[in-house]
């Protein structure tokens, strides 16, 4: 079936460096994408979202890039901090088709080395 996946299961970066987490999706009808951060023992925390009519969106220290041609999105974290250590999930839905439930990728663990 349709799925959302990730290229790298674990990413280790030095504190202060920029991090890039990638995600591929397969559903051509996907039109809304969210990145979540999940810390150990907690529920997923909304970070940033992007709609399919955009290719870039920026937040505080985070940027999401969407390439619909190759069905790929990425999360960039600037000046990565130890508090950014967590598992990051991309998720998508096709809300214009009426489906509001999310399909999640497999997750990337980000480890920030002090």
């Amino acid at each position: 079936g349709e799925s959302v996946g990730l290229h790298l299961p674990t990413l280790s970066v030095q504190e202060g460096d920029n991090s890039i987490i990638n995600c591929a999706y397969s559903n051509s009808a996907s039109d809304y994408f969210i990145w979540y951060k999940q810390e150990s023992g907690k529920g997923p925390q909304f970070i940033i979202d992007i709609r399919s009519n955009m290719d870039k969106r920026q937040g505080q220290r985070v940027t999401v890039l969407l390439n619909k041609t190759v069905k790929h999105l990425s999360l960039q974290i600037a000046a990565t901090q130890p508090g950014d250590s967590a598992v990051y999930f991309c998720a998508e839905n096709a809300h214009l088709t009426g489906r509001r439930a999310l399909t999640f990728g497999s997750g990337t663990r980000l480890q920030v080395q002090p």
Partner: protein, 113 residues
């Protein structure tokens, strides 16, 4: 953003019993969902909780095993029935309002012995 709470936060249950998990949202929301997250894995949608009507279940999940209620726009319950060790997991409630953003509760960590 919506603030979502779940009760209980964790439980240890014996096989064959049932557990009802409650999800409370601090504001009226359009959509509520239930997901399962097995240890070290991603989230899988169980069902969409529909207000005033039967929940919509994903493939592999059935109402007899996971009955869901949603009596109003801020509250939903998920029951895990006739539990087995394979049901040990984290159960997560999420909600979405007029916008597309979807927010999650802290999860209920279930261990079945």
């Amino acid at each position: 953003s919506a603030v979502i709470s779940q009760k209980p936060s964790r439980d240890i249950c014996q096989r064959g019993t049932s557990l009802t998990i409650q999800c409370q949202v601090d504001s009226q929301v359009t959509m509520m969902f239930w997901y399962r997250q097995q240890p070290g894995q991603s989230l899988t949608l169980i069902a969409t909780a529909n207000q005033g009507s039967e929940a919509t279940y994903e493939s592999g999940f059935v109402i007899d095993k996971f009955p869901i209620s949603r009596p109003n726009l801020t509250f939903s319950t998920l029951t895990v029935s006739n539990m087995s060790p394979e049901d040990s997991s984290i159960y997560l409630c999420s909600a979405s309002g007029q916008g597309l953003e979807q927010y999650f509760g802290p999860g209920t960590r279930l261990t079945v012995t």
